[in-house]
């Protein structure tokens, strides 16, 4: 066979390789399509009321000294119901689950928690959405893992799933916990 004829197959081989790569990453991609700008960034400073005791102010000090999962949610967000099982599972693990009630109505939020249970150690009431904005939140639910120094180590957009917990969050918590 003449050399020129073999070259004809190069684009086909490249195409199959590319298709294979795309199929593999589609199947195994538990994290977001775009890397988050928040990774390795310190958690933003804030001072906001706690949902369940509004005269108490919460700040980033609540994250220091422990590994936290920070979950941004709202009673208005349909997908948030889907991750309640995963959040309750996280609440049983050696990690502090902190909630940010994002752009929500307090009465609606409390109704939501009564209905689906409350997995949160503390809930920050971010009514104006300013803390969410600093975190680059563009669509709830979103979840962060923050280390004991207050540095963001993981950022997931969309509802949590068992795969995300098992493949991403649990191993990370283990790695960050001394």
């Amino acid at each position: 066979m003449k050399r020129a004829q073999l070259w004809v197959y190069v684009p086909l081989i490249l195409f199959i390789a590319l298709a294979g790569l795309l199929a593999y990453s589609l199947k195994h991609n538990t994290t977001n399509d775009r890397p988050s700008a928040q990774l390795s960034q310190p958690f933003p400073t804030f001072q906001l009321p706690a949902l369940e005791s509004p005269d108490v102010l919460v700040d980033a000090g609540v994250l220091k000294g422990r590994v936290s999962v920070v979950n941004v949610w709202g009673a208005w967000c349909f997908n948030c119901e889907e991750e309640m099982d995963e959040l309750h599972a996280l609440a049983q693990m050696p990690v502090t689950v902190i909630g940010i009630d994002y752009k929500d109505d307090r009465a609606q939020a409390e109704k939501f928690l009564k209905r689906f249970g409350n997995p949160y150690h503390t809930i920050i009431e971010d009514e104006a959405g300013d803390l969410g904005f600093e975190l680059g939140v563009y669509g709830a639910p979103e979840t962060f893992v923050v280390d004991a120094n207050g540095i963001i180590r993981y950022h997931h957009t969309g509802a949590l799933t068992r795969e995300v917990l098992a493949q991403d969050i649990q191993p990370l918590i283990k790695a960050l916990t001394p």
Binding site: A4, W7, R34, P35, S36, A37, Q38, Q41, K103, G129, F133, E134, L135, G136, V137, Y138, G139
Partner: protein
């Protein structure tokens, strides 16, 4: 008739969704121009490929409001873009900046064109060589001789008188 009515209704419906408050936010024309340019060239992270100025999504409106706020505080255009990139990532820029990571994105199409053109050039040169380097085998030589003989007869016609 029905198709036209359906299309008109759909178009009207789309307009209600796509209309965003277009009233000027600044008295200062220069600031208004900067604001308009920024919201037209920053991408909403939630709505695929819409600018924050033309999307009705809450996050787009939040971002546009922040742009307005920062402009009033005297923040420069570059700083505004950087602040949004810091929070939402490079995705908000329609033109990804040139870095090692995005090098393939920028250079990929150019590389492919160069590769394709090289392939074509190489193929042409290869064709030229194969057609002139290979000697004719005996069968082809015989055919060539026959053709040349026929041609030799024909060229004599030019010098002879036309056959009557």
């Amino acid at each position: 008739m029905i198709r036209h009515t359906v299309m008109a209704v759909l178009a009207a419906g789309m307009m209600t969704v796509c209309t965003v408050d277009a009233s000027p936010r600044f008295d200062d024309e220069a600031l208004q121009a900067r604001y308009q340019h920024l919201v037209d060239t920053l991408r909403c992270p939630k709505c695929e490929n819409q600018s924050i100025g033309s999307s009705g999504a809450p996050i787009a409106q939040d971002m546009a409001q922040r742009v307005e706020q920062w402009l009033r505080q005297g923040v420069s255009d570059d700083e505004i873009r950087q602040k949004l990139v810091d929070r939402f990532g490079e995705y908000v820029l329609y033109e990804p900046p040139l870095s090692w990571r995005t090098g393939l994105l920028w250079g990929g199409p150019a590389l492919l064109v160069i590769a394709a053109l090289s392939g074509v050039v190489l193929q042409i040169r290869r064709n030229r060589h194969t057609s002139s380097d290979q000697a004719l085998d005996p069968e082809e030589q015989q055919r060539l001789a026959a053709i040349l003989a026929r041609h030799a007869d024909a060229s004599d016609l030019d010098r002879q008188e036309p056959r009557s």
